[in-house]
């Protein structure tokens, strides 16, 4: 399947290439969106990446973008179609978060990231599938449908932003948004062969992103190349009065950092990320990428992040604790589904939540409630917060001598659908290389670095210090361009 339509090849069409075509008048947004919708119609039957697609609305937005351009406007993303993870509020669109409990909900407002992209001229084409409330690493926890990996339909696309990853990797989106709490952008990007960026905590406003774990969640782009990730980050970043955890730190032109070389940079290899349990094909692909970075002028240095082995335990205490509080809002009163036949409000909450949430969400709410409950709070939650400090310090120390760190994104490539769904702990351990960046509040980028013998994509993770997006984008871009030219 080539996903070619009217001259567009959506397997590789980037935001910046389409931007040039729109600016030169070589095409229009209506033409691009029309052919994208055709590509989706052709391929999404087997991928099942999109959960909501309103062709009429998408074409109306595209026509409006074309009118704005005809009037002389040239907003940076004018007429560029984007796919949006079903966790972000877009006025007038559903936002199910992959859950039955939000069936029928129509967003009455735009998330700040969406409002900024709308201002920049983006067209919101469709909404993509996800693990329910972003809890999972395979998108199998969606209550709506199972999404398939575009490189092998029997395999998972990763998760929780699996719909966005499958859409970009499968050539039925130009670019997409995801959200990342413990790896939910980087891991599916790595499984589906696209670029995924988790920005620094506080870099992009979380207002309008349905909260999973408020101290860990970040919105980020999923794209065909690193330049697109830089472009979309720049369009969404910045402080927001609606999110008091967003940070007032200047937003640079991230594309200006894409120098194409790594001269003068020191890149660290955390030894705890190259251990037994990492698939040999993943390790050799990542080692080859490291060698390429050395050729590009970087100095490579081994470093240690000694508390890595405690990251998953820390993450699953903190993330579930925060989730149990955040998901208390789904009670059948103000929005979403309500169970019928309840005799009093307590009965109504209990039945609504039992019917509305799927098994993984229930497990995590129970675990989070447990670790916060009287008698257990100090032993689990407070201890985890202290270990989080140790993990953060590990990174601070490493970044004293390195500009960025290189590692695998995941220990294995994409696995078979159904393989891990009934073994929560095994599934959680797959987040070991990604959850650390969320705990430390730093940024991380996933860039494709080859495939296994079976043709499954492998991802290179590039982690940078807080607000070090320019460094990691520079590394990712130089590596990607060198590979493309070789």
């Amino acid at each position: 399947m080539d996903n070619e339509s009217m001259g567009f090849n959506f397997n590789s069409l980037t935001v910046h290439a389409l931007q040039e075509q729109l600016q030169s008048g070589a095409t229009t947004s209506v033409e691009a969106v029309t052919s994208l919708l055709a590509a989706i119609a052709e391929r999404d039957g087997e991928l099942k990446a999109y959960v909501t697609l309103d062709a009429e609305d998408a074409l109306a937005q595209a026509a409006e973008a074309d009118r704005r351009r005809a009037d002389g406007e040239d907003a940076p993303l004018l007429g560029i179609p984007l796919a949006i993870k079903d966790v972000l509020n877009v006025t007038g669109q559903p936002c199910t978060c992959g859950s039955h409990i939000l069936q029928g909900y129509i967003a009455p407002y735009d998330a700040t990231a969406i409002a900024k992209l709308r201002q920049a001229g983006a067209v919101f084409v469709g909404r993509t599938n996800m693990d329910e409330f972003a809890m999972g690493g395979t998108t199998e926890n969606s209550s709506l449908q199972v999404t398939h990996n575009p490189h092998d339909l029997d395999r998972v696309p990763g998760g929780s932003s699996g719909g966005s990853a499958a859409a970009v990797g499968g050539g039925i989106a130009v670019a997409a948004l995801g959200s990342d709490t413990g790896g939910s952008i980087r891991q599916p990007a790595s499984f589906c062969g696209c670029v995924g960026l988790k920005p620094t905590y506080g870099r992009i406003s979380r207002y309008g992103l349905t909260a999973f774990a408020s101290s860990l969640d970040q919105i980020g782009p999923m794209t065909h190349d690193v330049r697109d990730a830089a472009l979309l980050l720049g369009a969404m970043a910045g402080v927001d009065p609606m999110d008091s955890s967003s940070v007032d730190c200047p937003v640079p032109d991230y594309t200006a950092a894409l120098s194409g070389d790594l001269k003068g940079m020191t890149l660290g290899l955390p030894q705890e990320y190259f251990v037994k349990g990492v698939d040999p094909e993943v390790e050799s692909a990542v080692r080859a990428a490291v060698a390429r970075c050395r050729e590009l002028g970087a100095e490579i240095r081994e470093v240690s992040l000694p508390h890595t082995e405690y990251a998953i335990a820390t993450y699953y205490v903190i993330a579930t604790a925060e989730a149990s509080a955040n998901l208390a809002r789904f009670d059948g009163v103000r929005y979403g589904r309500r169970a019928e036949g309840a005799t009093d409000p307590i009965d109504m909450y209990g039945k609504t939540r039992a019917q509305g949430f799927g098994p993984e969400v229930k497990r995590r709410i129970i675990l989070g409630t447990y670790v916060l409950s009287g008698g257990y709070h100090d032993a689990y939650y407070l201890t985890a917060q202290k270990v989080r400090t140790l993990i953060r310090r590990d990174f601070e120390q490493a970044f004293e001598e390195c500009d960025a760190l290189l590692s695998p994104v995941t220990p294995t490539p994409a696995y078979k659908i159904g393989e891990k769904v009934n073994d929560p702990l095994q599934m959680y351990l797959g987040d070991m290389f990604t959850a650390t960046a969320n705990l430390a509040g730093i940024c991380g980028l996933s860039v494709p670095c080859g495939t296994t013998a079976a043709g499954l994509p492998v991802g290179l993770q590039i982690m940078g210090p807080a607000f070090g997006e320019e460094q990691i984008l520079r590394v990712g871009h130089a590596y990607e361009q060198a590979e493309a030219g070789s």
Partner: protein, 101 residues
């Protein structure tokens, strides 16, 4: 407050904690979740291996505190917009089953 949570064999009583979280689970769900949660709780107990005395807890990744904004009136959702997603409403208010007989 230690008796807020009844201890199961591995310290977690799934049905009771589910009740605290306002979820009425079926017997099948309790039977399925109990061993899975015991396994996860057993795993996170790993954190007790570390000596964290004297370590400050991190509740937030960025060192922000007391973020304030001007207390100014601004546009919000209209009553109609706010009620549009309600499963049941009456006279511009959320309707719920009777609380007091």
């Amino acid at each position: 407050m230690a008796d807020d949570v009844k201890k199961g064999p591995e310290g977690i009583d799934t049905a009771y904690v589910a009740h605290l979280a306002r979820m009425v689970l079926s017997a099948e769900e309790v039977a399925e979740f109990q061993p899975q949660l015991e396994q996860v709780v057993g795993y996170v107990t790993k954190l007790q291996e570390l000596d964290v005395s004297g370590i400050e807890p991190t509740s937030h990744a960025q060192p922000l505190s007391n973020v304030l904004r001007e207390d100014a009136v601004r546009e919000g959702l209209s009553c109609e917009q706010a009620m549009a997603n309600a499963p049941h409403s009456m006279d511009g208010q959320f309707a719920v089953p009777k609380i007091v007989e």
